[in-house]
């Protein structure tokens, strides 16, 4: 008889993990007491390879032991994930039970009705205990992950905000420089530090993400007034000035081959001290302060600098959602509830050093504050302020309209043309504008 057999090593580990999880997670109790209603089910879960989903993977045996479910989990690259899932969602397929809702696809994926509203799970006590506390998730992120009627479609697992880093702040101090507060300061610092094998400015090739904070700082925007008026505004004098400035930073102070730099190359350049200053999503800047970083003792962080027209730090969020084709949505929710519980997120911060939580209580937790205070820079404070700025205004609206992916590509091409001296800023942005109008009309946008 099976019960009389000695457990295998795998069974022993699973049971031990289950016991551990039950002891550490208050959420476990109701599930166990109900006798694992999802026992034997298989969940297919996918997200792009960001830090949180990757570290969550290490805790999956606990979830499997807790619920009796088996989880097939994959984390492909960002572009591959988006293309694969765009196709999967468009067919309303049932291959996945839980998927990431990618920030720039929010409108397209949610408005097309490809994700299931979460209200029926979140607000019902038999599905979700009250202390799970939906309101703890930052309102700016929840707002983005809701449809136009306010129905919540995804639970945000990250908030990524734009900030700035200087790896060799020691050299800047020697030169009498401080962390840049304005775009002019960026120019000064980049120019002064661009020597002795150190690039004065480093940026990755996602120009559709990196350029708009500069564009808005110069007083321009991507669209005339997203989401209601989607006429592109890429060739305005402000847009041309911003493109000229941003391309100049990359071309004249960037490392050789900067146009092919991916975000992990930027992180590596900062950690190795090959690049001094960068403005990026904080996820990719934080590793510069890691113990294995050559600049761990000299790195400083600051808010993204102000432009002539103001302060517009970029903001992004991604969320777990349930595709409409998922066969057992209650089981899907069980996974999301577990993955996004306060306890799990706090463990990710404490045990894995996760730096982009989406729950306010975690961001304000003393442990998180302590971990994110690096060489005197209070990164948690910079992080929260940037999210509040983004949440208090609609300047990020450009990013979640369903035709943004088109314009995103065109911005990237425009900046590359300027940096590689194929065209002037004015000509390149005019071409981007003309092409954007054609592409948006093809998408059915009335301009």
């Amino acid at each position: 008889m099976a019960s009389s057999r000695r457990p295998t090593r795998r069974q022993f580990l699973k049971r031990s993990a289950g016991l551990g999880a039950a002891l550490t997670l208050p959420l476990a109790a109701p599930a166990l007491s109900q006798g694992k209603p999802f026992q034997g089910q298989t969940l297919n879960v996918s997200c792009w390879n960001a830090p949180y989903p990757k570290l969550l993977q290490e805790y999956l045996p606990e979830f499997e032991a807790l619920t009796g479910m088996k989880v097939n989990y994959d984390t492909p690259g960002f572009l591959i994930y988006n293309q694969r899932i765009d196709l999967e969602l468009s067919t309303r397929g049932s291959a996945y039970d839980v998927l990431n809702i990618t920030f720039i696809y929010v409108d397209r994926w949610i408005r097309s009705g490809w994700f299931h509203p979460l209200g029926e799970f979140v607000r019902k006590e038999n599905s979700t205990p009250k202390d799970w506390d939906l309101d703890d998730f930052l309102p700016a992120a929840r707002k983005i992950m809701s449809d136009r009627s306010g129905n919540l479609m995804g639970i945000p697992w990250t908030c990524d905000c734009y900030m700035a880093v200087a790896g060799r702040y020691d050299l800047m101090e020697k030169a009498g420089l401080k962390m840049p507060e304005t775009f002019d300061d960026i120019e000064t610092v980049a120019k002064a530090m661009h020597k002795d094998g150190i690039a004065g400015f480093v940026g990755d090739n996602r120009h559709g993400w990196n350029f708009p904070p500069y564009l808005q700082g110069f007083g321009g925007n991507v669209f005339r007034k997203a989401p209601d008026d989607l006429m592109p505004t890429l060739d305005t004098p402000e847009a041309v000035a911003a493109a000229d400035f941003f391309s100049h930073l990359l071309r004249d102070y960037g490392p050789d081959g900067v146009l092919s730099y991916t975000y992990d190359q930027v992180t590596a350049a900062l950690k190795q001290g090959r690049g001094n200053y960068s403005t990026e999503g904080h996820i990719f800047l934080m590793p510069a302060g890691d113990a294995d970083s050559k600049v761990a003792k000299t790195v400083r962080y600051s808010a993204f600098p102000k432009g002539p027209a103001g302060h517009f730090p970029g903001f992004a969020t991604h969320a777990w959602g349930i595709p409409v084709g998922a066969k057992n949505k209650r089981a899907s929710w069980e996974f999301i509830k577990w993955a996004m519980s306060r306890q799990m997120m706090l463990r990710a911060v404490k045990e894995k050093g996760y730096s982009s939580p989406s729950r306010r209580s975690i961001i304000e937790d003393p442990e998180f504050k302590r971990r994110l205070t690096l060489n005197g820079s209070d990164v948690a404070d910079i992080y929260l302020k940037a999210i509040e700025i983004a949440g208090g205004s609609d300047y990020m609206a450009y990013r979640i309209v369903n035709v943004f992916p088109q314009v995103d590509t065109l911005i990237g091409q425009a900046i590359e043309r300027i940096v590689s001296k194929q065209m002037s800023a004015s000509d390149s942005m005019k071409l981007a504008q003309r092409t954007a109008i054609t592409d948006l009309r093809r998408a059915g946008v009335k301009l």
Partner: protein, 306 residues
């Protein structure tokens, strides 16, 4: 009737109807599978190209109100025209380089020796690598921070800036990587053809005092011409499908400097969700390849017949 008798009857054009039907019946499963696997997707592609299909607008999938719209748009789309021109440059340069290099190496290896047999295997390695792995190898080689190539050049006093971010060199950098990966294919075809060339005419030419070049030009090349044409056709068709190298190395950039037609169709389909437009581009690309292949094989046939 025996099999032989049927074969004879078939040669005479006298296959009895019941046998013909039996053959057709036997072929039917294979034809059905073939149709399902190749013709049905191709037909679907063509049908989609007649609509403004986009997965974000379900009604667009069956909208045949303006069936030529995508084709007319493509002809007035400067990016499409530019991508075709980039495609032509890439295809011509890679096919020519691969055939010449393949021919050269095949001539060197066309001798009987253990060393050369081992070398043949070594030369085949790039060809059997998964394309994405080959692309990653070249990504490392072309990234100045980590590239042994760039470091070696810099330490010998000849520093070279990034080749894949320079619009003047990016396409040729891709062509070099593509040639590295695929010249073994042409080499293999040409080497096989060279080994089939009879020794007698070569020996007779040598007795008559012909130089190596004369033997190559007057005996070997005419003898292997049809194999070279096959190699050209294979590589030409494959070059038009070039994707992993461009995707990994340049993403079509800088700007659109390396955006070949295939990649342009990919961005239209998967970045922008314009399935109808991307399908129209794919249909035109397929038709172009078909016509080009037909023209090359016809031209080669004529010459061979001459």
């Amino acid at each position: 009737m025996s099999v032989r008798a049927v074969a004879v009857a078939a040669q005479d054009g006298e296959v009895p109807a019941r046998h013909r039907n039996a053959y057709l019946l036997g072929l039917l499963p294979a034809l059905v599978v073939l149709a399902a696997v190749t013709l049905a997707p191709a037909l679907y592609l063509f049908v989609t190209s007649l609509t403004p299909a986009s997965p974000t607008r379900p009604d667009s999938l069956f909208d045949f109100s303006d069936p030529l719209e995508n084709y007319l748009s493509a002809w007035s789309d400067p990016r499409f025209g530019e991508s075709v021109w980039i495609q032509v440059k890439l295809s011509v340069s890679t096919v020519v380089a691969q055939v010449l290099l393949g021919l050269g190496v095949a001539l060197l290896l066309n001798r009987r020796s253990r060393l050369l047999t081992a070398l043949r295997t070594v030369f085949l390695i790039p060809m059997v690598l998964p394309p994405i792995v080959a692309a990653l190898i070249w990504k490392i080689l072309y990234t100045p921070d980590v590239s042994p190539l760039h470091r070696a050049l810099a330490s010998s006093g000849m520093p070279v800036s990034s080749l894949i971010t320079n619009p003047d060199t990016a396409l040729w950098a891709i062509a070099v990587a593509d040639t590295w990966q695929w010249f073994p294919f042409t080499m293999l075809i040409i080497l096989a053809a060279l080994q089939m060339v009879p020794r007698e005419p070569i020996e007779a030419a040598q007795v008559d005092g012909a130089s190596r070049f004369q033997i190559l030009w007057h005996i070997l090349l005419p003898a292997i011409r049809s194999s070279i044409v096959v190699a050209v056709l294979f590589r030409l068709i494959d070059s038009i499908k070039a994707f992993p190298l461009i995707y990994v190395l340049t993403s079509g950039g800088p700007g659109t400097a390396t955006q070949v037609t295939n990649y342009y169709a990919f961005t239209q389909a998967f970045n922008y969700a314009y399935w109808g437009y991307a399908s129209a581009i794919a249909v035109m690309l397929t038709a172009g390849v078909f016509v080009l292949s037909l023209a090359i094989s016809r031209a080669a046939d004529v010459r061979i017949d001459e």
